[in-house]
């Protein structure tokens, strides 16, 4: 008992123990969220939904063209000014980035791979079907 008390009296020991106990609590809560299947499976319903997501990401962005991924987990939207926005699923929500150039755009038949320049946002591959080529051409018009 005295040894335990002596150990706890050492500087930093109590903090380390409290941190480890909290970490166990954190992992249990996260695991519980997994067991409960929380998170949902969100998809972009249609072009209007993609437009609403674009407006949410950038107030006033009004799409004139929408390219929806076949699995509805991402989309490309273009407005009248020629700006192109990439929308992709992020957990049970969506996140978007305005594309600034065509570097990182790769076309493979119906699949268009787009890198945003934000490495944490990641590279997104969209299955746009036959529209993929037209979108690739439109992205090439963005500054290199």
């Amino acid at each position: 008992m005295k040894a335990v008390q002596a150990l706890l009296a050492q500087p930093g020991v109590l903090l380390v123990l409290k941190t480890l106990a909290s970490l166990v609590g954190v992992l249990l809560v996260v695991q519980l969220a997994r067991w409960m299947n929380l998170g949902g499976d969100v998809r972009i319903r249609d072009e209007d939904h993609a437009g609403a997501l674009a407006d949410e990401a950038m107030c006033g962005f009004v799409p004139v063209a929408v390219g929806l991924d076949k699995a509805r987990i991402g989309a490309l939207v273009r407005d009248a000014q020629g700006r192109v926005m990439l929308i992709r699923r992020h957990g049970s929500h969506f996140a978007a980035r305005l594309l600034e150039n065509h570097a990182g755009v790769r076309l493979d038949q119906h699949f268009l791979t787009v890198a945003t320049g934000d490495s944490r946002f990641g590279t997104v591959t969209l299955n746009l079907g036959p529209e993929a080529q037209a979108w690739a051409a439109s992205l090439r018009r963005l500054e290199g």
Partner: protein, 306 residues
């Protein structure tokens, strides 16, 4: 003579309650709104919370010593009476309002506070999504000055802990609105949902800690609107669950801007509002709201013409 009194660590005592409340909310989410929680987001939020307690513990001594140094030069001595606890809580909540408002309006402080807002979810785990860099940002300065008036630092730390614990339960969508008298005086889930929203009408509103009266007094209050679906997070959503990036992304962005900005604009990138840029190429919350209002007015005019 300085009384030898130690603060009560309210937050540590509250941890079991935090965990039980999250389990209750998850059970609610499972039945009513499974998308209210996302395990990866929960991990990020709780990892930020855990890191925040470690960072806080490592720097608490310095903050407390600074408060004690102020207390040595106090102009009066406030006793440990019941009324003094209430006065201290109200004053600390007033300070919290201004610290929080500054945390949203000055990028230096925002770089630290943004951690709390970067989740696109709004649940009890979001409440624990706290900063690791509050000490670096020096935001504690807003909270310790009452020691000069004569409030003992132990009292300040204790009421600050009570305030933090109070704010836990308001981070939920599981509670609609409280009775009107309560909504009029206290910060509530409804008021704080507005604060975490990115809808233009809601940006930079409801900075209150425990008492919403400060927002009403200083004209930053915005009620939750029934027809307006709330979207949570930050204007430029992170798009990643990475813990370290969630902690440091705004510091990294700010310092990068500082490094590349022309000399005369460098300081402005630290002290102007988030989103400010010297060439006007980015959006501040004021500009976003202005653009949104113009659209609303345009739509209203179109309806009248019809």
């Amino acid at each position: 003579m300085t009384p030898d009194i130690h603060p009560v660590d309210i937050v540590t005592y509250a941890v079991p309650f935090f965990i039980l409340a999250m389990i209750w909310e998850m059970t609610w989410a499972r039945r009513r709104a499974p998308e209210a929680y996302e395990p990866r987001d929960t991990w990020t939020s709780l990892a930020l919370g855990l890191g925040s307690t470690v960072a806080g513990a490592l720097t608490a001594g310095v903050v407390y010593a600074a408060a004690m140094a102020l207390y040595q030069h106090r102009v009066a001595t406030v006793p440990f009476a019941w009324w003094a606890w209430i006065a201290c809580f109200v004053l600390d909540d007033f300070n919290y309002y201004w610290a929080h408002r500054t945390g949203h309006r000055i990028r230096w402080f925002w770089a630290s506070h943004v951690n709390h807002h970067s989740s696109q979810h709004y649940n009890l785990s979001t409440a624990l999504r706290q900063t690791w860099t509050g000490f670096v940002a020096l935001s504690f300065v807003f909270r310790i000055w009452p020691a000069l008036l004569g409030f003992h630092p132990a009292m300040l730390v204790t009421v600050g802990g009570v305030n933090l614990v109070y704010q836990f339960w308001i981070h939920t969508e599981a509670i609609g609105r409280m009775p009107r008298w309560f909504e009029a005086v206290f910060n509530t889930p409804s008021h704080h949902r507005v604060h975490h929203a990115t809808n233009p009408v809601y940006l930079d509103r409801n900075y209150a800690g425990a008492l919403i009266v400060w927002d009403r007094l200083f004209r930053t209050f915005q009620p939750e609107l029934d027809g307006e679906r709330i979207r949570y997070g930050i204007v430029r959503q992170l798009g990643t669950f990475g813990v370290m990036w969630s902690v440091f992304h705004e510091w990294a962005g700010m310092l990068k801007d500082f490094a590349v900005a022309p000399l005369r604009y460098k300081l402005a990138y630290l002290v102007r509002e988030p989103g400010w840029s010297h060439d006007g190429s980015r959006d501040t919350s004021d500009r976003i709201r202005e653009r949104w209002r113009e659209r609303q007015d345009g739509a209203a005019r179109a309806v009248r013409l019809d």
